[in-house]
Homo-oligomer: 501 residues x 2
């Protein structure tokens, strides 16, 4: 054993324990905490976060990494040793570049901007939010400038959530996709009356919804001995190591599909975290590698599998039983089409599989233009509404339903949005590969056999944790970079059939 | 503002955030964590605990305390400033005396001994536990020896949980109490057939038990906006500041009184924590002052109030309504006597109000003799059984129901047991004072008016957090030290009446 390497691992283990504790403190805040706990919780989160950061950016970590460079060279690229040193160095170099004073200024501005956003959205008054958003944009620019390169500063923000992917690469994918996606949406709108989903609206008690969500997610492979499903205002997944990975959902009394599909989505994230290699525990690589790859797993389960005909061939009889008598007279085909109904709408988080991508493209374009000074914050409402009309054919009646709908910009999250769509695109590319590797996978799904899918994901993706980047995974699994064409083909085939286009 | 004092408070705030995070991590482990989370949780707890300790025993804390000595002198004794410096110094001096290597050895031995105890108890094989218990006793002796004084080493262990109380003082109280308590138990046993509690056994659903427990504890003053009631294997109270104080209970399907009285007990602890002064937040004094004073609050609510005739004059009609038809034919007097039935039994945690004290005295005597080498670990089973027979008239048929019943010694907790009984005794002393201060308090209770009781406790006890010690509180509130006579009078009066002695 290399002693320096063990020293590095000890350091990382302490940082990770603090991060996991912070994650639990935050889970509890969303799921369990009584109202009165807020002030104490904020202090505890801040202390855990700042200590984790403090121990990670410590000069000694830098010295250990330097000392380990020769050792790293003689380890195989995929080995725990080389990967831990490589990925830790990448993250360390990002974090030490930014002065603590700027980090604190960003944290403070975020907190102020978030409160302003809540109020501005509630009162539908963009002017209240505007100066805070401008401040956040400016701080993001200053953050990006810490890295001192001459390229697009937006690349630096993107790299935070998706290491190794640049604006140009995303733009290549999105600009290929956009015209065909807009055309598909137009065709669906022209044939909107061909699909009805009113039969999905009937009362289901929370207990029954919870039990069915648990039944389905457990069957897919989410392990409840190492997880739990709770209720929170916004569904999310979190983990405190692979043995304790928790998901949440929220129940609507007359729309069982909402909680079910969101549970399946979160279970996709959860299975990723439950299946990272045990040997990566407490290294910081014991995490899904990036936002996009994470979304490729959750959106695969939610949309590609969870809204497929094969899946419901297996599950529909069981759903009919649970929902009886509401679906007794509804055949599988009608149900399947209802579940996949597509319609342009104003709100991203409620968008369907087809229109979702256009919500993302709009945000990606605006973020790039904001960071590069090509769009001013004061012009955002108009820019937003114009593009909504151009891409989706709907125009927000106010800014609360428009530019102020998402929490991200108020929270300083710039460069995060595109990963949702990159994940959807990658999900299909992976699915095509999986079908090549397991030719009878559709038949397995129809028989309710999901284990081979999870095993394939575990082998090709999950086990690596953060060892490999998104581009590396794409290359290794599919033999090439991210491709948008399979995704578009998938959408066109599926929706042409559903809408008879 | 004194800058040095502010520096000290900053240090303490960080320690406290880590301690609160550790408390949450531990609450979650007992209440929420899926089975698979154990390993990660152990690591997170260890890191948070060791960091909190590390930051607390830092030399700079010692230097700040020294520098603050002159400042302290000019602050009133009860002021936040003087109290924080005084109490922090007391705890700091305890913690820095013990070498880290010994702390680690104790932690390790505890963990090994605990596993051995679980197995030994399950298999009723004391020999499996004996060497580990001997090791724990030895380590406790070494721990006590770090303080280098010539007195009874058991005093050092007692002082950990109850600062300012010695073996001699406790022995004075217990030895006064014992003969009269043994005599009372004998009389009750001779008249056992006069009280029946079989009418308390009927099925009640968990939901109904939970709702009634919440209703009663809320009425007593436990604030659910700053708390919650959950289920755990062993009931406990924890807090992460006064705005988030949580209690737990466990439900028995045919014994509603068990969960109800344990909820009321924990709510007593909870109200203490909810009512410490806000200005003590994040100082380490934002905690009930000690084990005994804490128990004086919980046992007041559970026994003195919660098993009193006045209390049930108010609540019995409501209980009859909820339990209907099971208690429809049972009058208040019969119910009251059933709820207070007393009978010698083998297990401490199931003991009633009268016999409980003898379980504690036995442990207190044995601990003192173990630590002073007057009883050997190998003799414990016999010593235990002989004393059970002498004090309570029952002899354990095996060691699982005898010397191995409690978790404490396996977990390195020596000197902790007597505080349970000291709390019961103090509860009565406080209750007598409260009756002097609020002469019509019994009538208030019969009308369901509990706010004046909590207000009295808040004013005299809760608000101080850990500012004042148990002896200081006793002196200030009741004008003298802890007295066992009022407690014994209370028990004799109450039980003579119930059993017609």
């Amino acid at each position: 054993m290399n002693e320096t390497y063990e020293k590095l691992k000890d350091r990382l283990a302490r940082v990770r324990d603090l991060e996991f504790a912070a994650a639990l403190v935050s889970w509890d805040e969303e799921v369990m905490m009584p109202e009165g706990g807020a002030q104490g919780r904020a202090d505890q989160s801040a202390t855990l976060g700042s200590l984790a950061h403090h121990f990670f950016v410590d000069e000694e970590v830098g010295a250990l990494l330097e000392e380990l460079a020769p050792y790293e060279k003689f380890q195989p690229y995929d080995s725990d040793e080389a990967s831990i040193i490589r990925v830790t160095r990448r993250e360390y170099e990002k974090e030490v570049r930014v002065p603590t004073s700027l980090v604190e200024e960003i944290e403070h501005a975020k907190s102020v901007a978030h409160h302003a956003w809540v109020k501005a959205r509630k009162e539908d008054n963009f002017a209240l939010f505007e100066p805070h958003l401008a401040k956040n944009v400016d701080l993001q620019r200053r953050w990006a400038a810490c890295f001192g390169d001459s390229g697009n500063p937006y690349d630096r923000l993107l790299d935070r959530y998706e290491p190794g992917i640049s604006y140009d690469e995303i733009a290549r994918v999105f600009s290929g996709l956009k015209p065909r996606l807009v055309a598909l949406v137009e065709k669906i709108v022209a044939n909107a009356d061909r699909v009805d989903d009113s039969m999905l609206r009937f009362p289901v008690s929370e207990d029954v919804q919870q039990a069915f969500s648990e039944e389905v997610t457990a069957k897919l492979g989410y392990d409840y001995n190492r997880g739990r499903l709770d209720v929170s205002a916004h569904p999310f997944t979190t983990h405190f190591w692979r043995g304790d990975v928790r998901i949440t959902t929220r129940y609507m009394p007359d729309n069982f599909a909402s909680a079910l599909m969101s549970s399946v989505h979160e279970a996709g994230h959860g299975m990723y975290e439950q299946n990272t290699s045990e040997s990566l525990y407490r290294t910081g690589l014991d995490d899904g590698t990036s936002m996009s790859v994470h979304e490729s797993q959750s959106r695969y389960y939610e949309n590609v599998l969870g809204r497929s005909r094969s899946f419901w061939r297996y599950y529909y009889p069981r759903l009919q039983e649970i929902a009886s008598p509401h679906l007794n007279q509804v055949d599988l085909e009608t149900f399947y089409r209802g579940l996949n109904r597509s319609q342009p709408s104003l709100i991203r988080v409620e968008a369907d599989e087809v229109t979702y991508g256009l919500h993302i493209m709009l945000r990606f374009e605006l973020e790039n233009e904001l960071i590069n000074g090509k769009v001013q914050v004061s012009d955002l409402p108009r820019e937003w509404n114009d593009r909504m009309e151009a891409y989706l054919g709907v125009r927000p009646p106010n800014d609360a339903l428009g530019v102020m709908q998402d929490i991200h910009w108020s929270a300083g999250l710039f460069g995060y949005f595109p990963d949702y769509l990159l994940g959807s695109i990658f999900a299909v590319q992976l699915w095509n590969q999986l079908q090549k590797d397991i030719p009878d996978v559709e038949e397995q799904i129809e028989r309710g056999e999901f284990a081979p899918i999870l095993e394939w994901q575990r082998t090709h993706i999950h086990q690596y944790g953060s060892k490999l980047t998104f581009p590396e995974l794409a290359e290794r699994i599919t033999g090439g970079p991210l491709q948008w064409e399979p995704y578009m083909d998938y959408l066109e085939t599926k929706y042409s059939e559903i809408y008879g286009l």
